[in-house]
Symmetry: C2
Subunit: 393 residues, 2 copies
C-alpha cells in the first residue's frame, strides 16, 4: 500500500492552492526546482510570467500561450481598475473568464503603477490619492482597495499593497516606505480573498540591508501569506544593485514558500537570482523589446532591423521550434517590423516569449539534473556582464 | 470510358493557370459561379480578396487565413516596390516564399497608388515620375516597370499598368487617361511574365459610358490578357455612380473570362455587381474598419465601441464559427479595442475577414442553388441603401 500511495492515482484531486513542493535543490547554490499549485493548475518553478497588463499579453492570443505551455501570466491591477474597471471584470465572471485564460494569473497590487504612472496627488498612511493617467479622474487606492480590486478580478495570486519608492531615494524615505509597507501588509493579510486565491507579501527596503531584513522579518512573521516577493528592485537603480537587493532579502524569506522577484527578467539576472533562491519572475522586456525588433536567442540578443538581416533566409533563431521560426525568414519578419505591420510584432513576440519559457524550462531541468552550474555559466556567457550581445547593458 | 473520363482521377494534373470555368449562371441576372485556376490553386468565384498591401493581410498570420479557406489575397506593387523592393522579394524566392503563402496572390499595377499616394512629379506617355511617400526618393514607373516588378514578385495574377484619374475629373482628363490606359495595356500585354503568371487588362473611362465602352473594346481585343478589370470605380465618386460604372463596362467584357471590380467591397455593392456579371473583388474595408472596432454581421454592421457592448457576454456575432466568436465576449474585445491592444485588432479582423469569406461562399452557393435572388434581397436589407445598420453610407 505504501508504494501505491506514493503515486497519486489519475483521479486524485490536485493538492490545495498554495501547496508548494520543492523537488530538487542545487548542491552548491540556493537554486531549487519546485511546483506551486493554484486554483488554475500547477506552475513549475523557476518560472517566468509573461506580463498581460491590460488582460492580454501584448499581441498574443491565449491559444498561442497555451501552445507554448505557458502556465501563469501576470495582469496589472492599476490598469484594470482604471479600464475596464474591477466591477466590470467581476460582472464578466472574473479575469479568467474575461480574458479566456483558464490557467493561473497573478495580479500585482497596483502600488508600483500608482507611484510611477499616475499624476500623484497625496500619499498618507491610508493609501494614495491620485489621478488616472487615462482621463485625470481622481481615485484612491490603499491596502483595502487593492485587495478588493484583486478579489473582484479573482486572480490566483494577489499581491499585498506596498509603497515602492524609486531609486535613488534617501534612507529616510526608504525607512518610511518600509514602515508603511509593513503596516499595509498587516491590513492586506486580514482582508477577505477570492475563492482559492493566494496572497503574497512584499519586502521593500531599497538598497539598505538593515531595512530589507527588518521588512522581511516583519512581513514573513504575519499569518496569511502563501509566498513572498522582493519588491523595489527594478525601479531605476544601476544594474549592480539588483543582485545585492536580492541577497539582502532572500535569506530572510521562508525556505518552504515561493519567492518572487518583481519586475526583473533579464536572463542573466534571473539565473543569478535563482542561484540566490528566487523562484518566480516577471518583466515586460520580452514583449516590449519585441516591438522594437529585438530577438532573444540561446546565444544572445540581436536587433532584427540590422541591415545584415535584410536578405537573410534564416529563421529568427536556428533550431527554434516556435511558430515564427517554423515558417518565416528573418528577411520577412524584418520587413514587417520595418513596415510597422502588426504581424511583425506578433512574430517577434511569439519567438521571444517562447525563448523565455524554454529558457526557464531548461533552467528548471538543469536543477533537476544537477547541471545548474553549467546552465548558469552558459547564460552568463550569452547575457552576463561583458557579453557583447547583451545590448541592453 | 466516356463516363470514367468525365470524372478526373485524383492524380490528374490541375487545369493550366488561367482556366476559367463557369459552373452556374443565375436565371434572371448576370451572376455566375465559377472557378479560376492559378499556379497556386483554384479560386472559387465570386470571390473577395483580402488586401495584404505590404505582404501581410493586416494583423493576420497566413495560417489564420488558410484556416478560413481563403484562396487568394492581394498585394500592392507600389508598396512592395518601395519596401522591401522587388529585387529583395525576388531574392527571397518571390512573394509566395517571402510571405509564406502558398495560395494565389494578385498584385495590382501600382498605378492607383502612384497617382494617389506619392508626391506626383510628372506624368508622360511613358509613365509617371514620382517621389516615394516613404522617403522622397525620386522614382519612375510605367507599364514596363510595373510588369517587371510584378514579374519579380511572381504573383499569380498581374494587373496592367493604367492611368486612374480621381473622380470628379473633366471628360478631357478621362479621355486622355483612357488613351494612355489603352496604349499602356498594349505594352503590358507584350511584356514577359513570371512562370504561370496570369495578366488582367483594366478598363478605365470614369463616369462616361462612351469612354468605358471604347476602352473595354480596345483592351479586350488585345492578345495576352486572361481576365479583365473595371478600374477607376471607387476613387471618390458618390455611391450612386459605382454601379453605373459597372454597367457601362461589364457588358463589353468577354463572357468567358473573369471580371474583377477593383477596390469595391461593400457587401451590397458586391452582390449588385455580381448581379451585373462581376466575379472578383478586393477592398481594404474589412481590415481597415476592424482597427476602429466596426463589426460586420449577417444582419448589418455595428460599432463595438458602443457602450451597449461594455458588459455584453455575447460573441461578436451570434452563431459565428470564427475563432474570435468561439472564445471571446464583446465585452472583452471591446475592452481590447478601447485599450488599443493588438489582440483587439486581431480578433475583430479575424471575425470580419471570416464574415466576408463566408458571405462570398453563401453568395456563390446561392448561384449554384438558384437562390441568388433571395440572397441578394437579404444583403440589400442588411447593407443596401436605407439599411440603418450600414453606417458607412
Amino acid at each position: 500500500m505504501s508504494a501505491a500511495s506514493a503515486v497519486p492515482s489519475p483521479a486524485a484531486p490536485p493538492p490545495p492552492p498554495g501547496t508548494f513542493e520543492i523537488l530538487a535543490r542545487d548542491a552548491t547554490t540556493g537554486a531549487r526546482a519546485g511546483r506551486l499549485w493554484t486554483a488554475h493548475g500547477v506552475v513549475e518553478t523557476p518560472v517566468f510570467m509573461p506580463v498581460g497588463t491590460q488582460a492580454t499579453v501584448k499581441s498574443l492570443a491565449p491559444w498561442e500561450l497555451e501552445a507554448m505551455d505557458c502556465r501563469i501570466i501576470l495582469a496589472n491591477t492599476y490598469h484594470l481598475a482604471l479600464r475596464p474597471g474591477a466591477e466590470a471584470v467581476a460582472a464578466m465572471g472574473g479575469l479568467h473568464a474575461f480574458e479566456s485564460w483558464n490557467r493561473a494569473i497573478l495580479t500585482d497590487s497596483g502600488g508600483f503603477q500608482v507611484f510611477s504612472l499616475s499624476d500623484l496627488r497625496k500619499i498618507s498612511d491610508e493609501g494614495v490619492r491620485f489621478r488616472s493617467h487615462l482621463d485625470g479622474t481622481e481615485l484612491f487606492m490603499g491596502p483595502r482597495e487593492s485587495m478588493k480590486v484583486q478579489r473582484l478580478l479573482a486572480s490566483d495570486i494577489a499581491m499585498a499593497f506596498d509603497e515602492c519608492p524609486p531609486c535613488p531615494c534617501g534612507k529616510d524615505v526608504a525607512e518610511k516606505a518600509v514602515a508603511r509597507t509593513i503596516a499595509w501588509a498587516e491590513i492586506c493579510a486580514g482582508e477577505p480573498r477570492a475563492e482559492g486565491q493566494l496572497r503574497f507579501g512584499i519586502v521593500q527596503g531599497g538598497v539598505h540591508a538593515d531595512l530589507r531584513r527588518a521588512c522581511a522579518e516583519a512581513v514573513c512573521a504575519m499569518e496569511g501569506f502563501d509566498g513572498f516577493a522582493i519588491g523595489g528592485v527594478s525601479v531605476g537603480e544601476p544594474e549592480e544593485l539588483i543582485l545585492p537587493g536580492v541577497e539582502m532579502a532572500a535569506p530572510f524569506l521562508p525556505e518552504d514558500r515561493p519567492r518572487y522577484l518583481m519586475g526583473v527578467g533579464q536572463f542573466w539576472q534571473m539565473s543569478e537570482s535563482v542561484a540566490r533562491g528566487v523562484d518566480m519572475f516577471d518583466c515586460v522586456m520580452p514583449t516590449r523589446l519585441s516591438r522594437h525588433g529585438s530577438v532573444f536567442t540561446r546565444e544572445g540578443r540581436y536587433n532584427l532591423k540590422n541591415a545584415a538581416n535584410r536578405l537573410s533566409d534564416r529563421p529568427l533563431e536556428e533550431g527554434c521550434a516556435c511558430p515564427a521560426c517554423q515558417r518565416f525568414t528573418r528577411a520577412y519578419v524584418r520587413h514587417l517590423v520595418q513596415a510597422r505591420e502588426i504581424l511583425g510584432v506578433r512574430l517577434v513576440t511569439t519567438h521571444n516569449i517562447f525563448r523565455y519559457l524554454e529558457t526557464m524550462k531548461e533552467m528548471r531541468q538543469s536543477i533537476l539534473d544537477g547541471t545548474f552550474g553549467a546552465f548558469r555559466a552558459r547564460i552568463a556567457a550569452a547575457y552576463g556582464p561583458g557579453a557583447t550581445t547583451n545590448l541592453l547593458r
